[in-house]
Subunit: 356 residues, 2 copies
């Protein structure tokens, strides 16, 4: 029996892909690249041969229970963890770890976001296996470090110790979203990688780290633990969550711990956090358009048409635009202005909750 | 009892407002200006006080029977004339006239398209009353001539005899869609008006004119006439229509007859034949946008958003565009290129009948 477990974090309600990604149907549940499976389905599939399906746990919001069941029908109710509130990744991971620990205190655990893409799954599995081998019997916290391809200022960077030839590198520092100048220095230095947000650790290691660095969160879930896998789980969570502050596992644990390691990966990773990254990672026509519907395009280039599949869209004379529609909202906006989407969403709420 | 009758021609399947106007739901059945009533409803309402509702006859296609009943519920089945095919306006008018003639051979008849707008209905009724008074007891064919406001090359022009001060002017010539140079000459000459496509005549006059200028069409409907208002009407029409060539009443009768008169009108008329005319005739915001839905517009000017009412549309950086959506089709096109809509429709059919 495999002791490898997977925790998929699927509670986000990201609005960066609004109007496509919506509060009641966020990005991770969309087939955003038009490949035939949704991001969360791709995430689960990616671990085939590494984690058996009965060892996959999804942490999400109660409102996404139905979509999760529908998209990952192999999950039992025990494998769908419903957070009563959003508290960033640390409480999410703590909940899942204390739950899995109850049935397997020696689990070897991978934590992965539901909404990233990895274009080289074979290579991903090779590097992940390396990380799992490393974490299994050592008191270490391992993360996947993505070989950077550009000085992106939207990512976190990990500096690693390059002094020996080990395949698993000791982490020196974490830096969140540097400015462009610093990002360029990081890239040229050669000892920085992007933080891929995928973590690997043994159960004893993560529980110890939580106790050390986030004791109030560890306590909250340790007290709730006796109720996990029972009818009292929901009530216990309703008690535990208000005791947790909202904090990421990176801030709360990884940046503080001394035993953090990184496995360098070149796996075609993207967090698909922007329309630009969606454009980059999607199949394009000969004039650089990404199109998800029936279309008649006249003098349209370098644009994204993210529309319901059965829609016919006729466009003339637009370059570098996002044209996106979902459930009663249409957005037509230059790609360059995608940072405005947040403002759009805030303003859209004035027209009604169902528009966001 | 009034002897005034109204024939509304509502068989068109105009595609110029595609994707809004569609084969199964053409323009005349849309509330295209967002006023709360559709074009055909406005047309019928416009004749209040002139033609009693029981004297209103609508000629349309069989496929629009249901919409017609729904939108003009006062009509009996006898008042909804269903053409078995499209043969332009002459057969349409001949059918309606022979039908009305069967119950009132001395009817005084107005023929009006279902899809025009008239912004000054009071003035329209005054001029129409003048025309009806003139036609009632004379062997004349009267048309409404619209005071032109620009050298439009899309309209028909009527030259009238300005030699006396009569309110009803004798018509000299008809000219269809002149080029711009000629249109400008017409305007500056002062004795040309636009052909509004609204005709007024007594029943004896139109039947005589049909006999004279379109005898084969007159014969077809005269032979069908005994079956009108009976169960045999549909079968009789299926016999009559194939005998008719496709020809407009303008070409077939008005341009040939000697007894044609025009009543000059300044009534805020438009045939709403183009997106440009829709833009002109609609309420605009302070930067000249016509908007039919919830919207958030950033640096958008001089554009038309013709969208489903409950849609929220966010647009940035577009000027002079048409953004129109209806039933699975979205079009985003510069207003200047609206003549391409015909091509769009032809091409759209390749994706499926339901897109046109």
């Amino acid at each position: 029996m495999s002791s490898n477990y997977l925790i998929i974090m699927a509670g986000g309600a990201g609005t960066r892909f609004w109007p496509f990604s919506r509060q009641n149907f966020p990005k991770q549940f969309h087939d955003i690249l038009g490949t035939g499976s949704t991001l969360i389905q791709q995430t689960a599939e990616r671990f085939e041969g590494i984690c058996p399906q009965e060892n996959i746990y999804v942490v999400t919001s109660r409102e996404y229970y139905d979509i999760t069941r529908e998209q990952l029908p192999f999950l039992t109710d025990d494998q769908i963890l419903l957070e009563p509130g959003r508290r960033n990744t640390a409480p999410c991971i703590a909940y899942a770890c204390f739950k899995i620990a109850k049935i397997n205190p020696n689990a070897n655990v991978v934590v992965a976001p539901a909404d990233h893409i990895i274009l080289k799954p074979e290579e991903f599995r090779r590097r992940l296996t390396l990380a799992l081998d490393y974490s299994q019997n050592a008191d270490v916290l391992v993360t996947l470090g993505i070989t950077p391809t550009r000085p992106d200022t939207g990512y976190g960077y990990i500096q690693f110790d390059d002094s020996d030839d080990q395949e698993v590198k000791k982490v020196k520092t974490f830096t969140e979203k540097p400015n462009l100048e610093i990002a360029k220095m990081f890239i040229s230095s050669g000892d920085y990688v992007w933080n891929g947000g995928i973590f690997i650790w043994s159960m004893p290691s993560i529980l110890k780290a939580l106790d050390n660095y986030l004791p109030e969160i560890a306590d909250a879930f340790r007290e709730a633990q006796p109720h996990f896998f029972t009818e009292g789980e929901k009530e216990a969570l309703d008690m535990a969550y208000p005791r947790c502050r909202s904090i990421s596992i990176d801030n709360g644990v990884m940046e503080k711990a001394e035993n953090v390691y990184v496995v360098l990966c070149d796996i075609g990773w993207s967090d698909l956090g922007t329309w630009k990254s969606l454009h980059e990672n999607s199949e394009k026509d000969e004039v650089n358009n990404v199109v998800s519907c029936y279309s008649m395009l006249y003098n349209v280039e370098d644009s994204i048409l993210k529309m319901p599949k059965d829609k016919l869209v006729v466009v003339k004379d637009l370059k570098g635009y996002i044209i996106a529609e979902h459930d009663r909202v249409l957005m037509i906006c230059p790609k360059e202005d995608e940072q405005l989407v947040k403002e759009f969403v805030a303003k859209a709420e004035e027209f009604g909750k169902h528009y966001i």
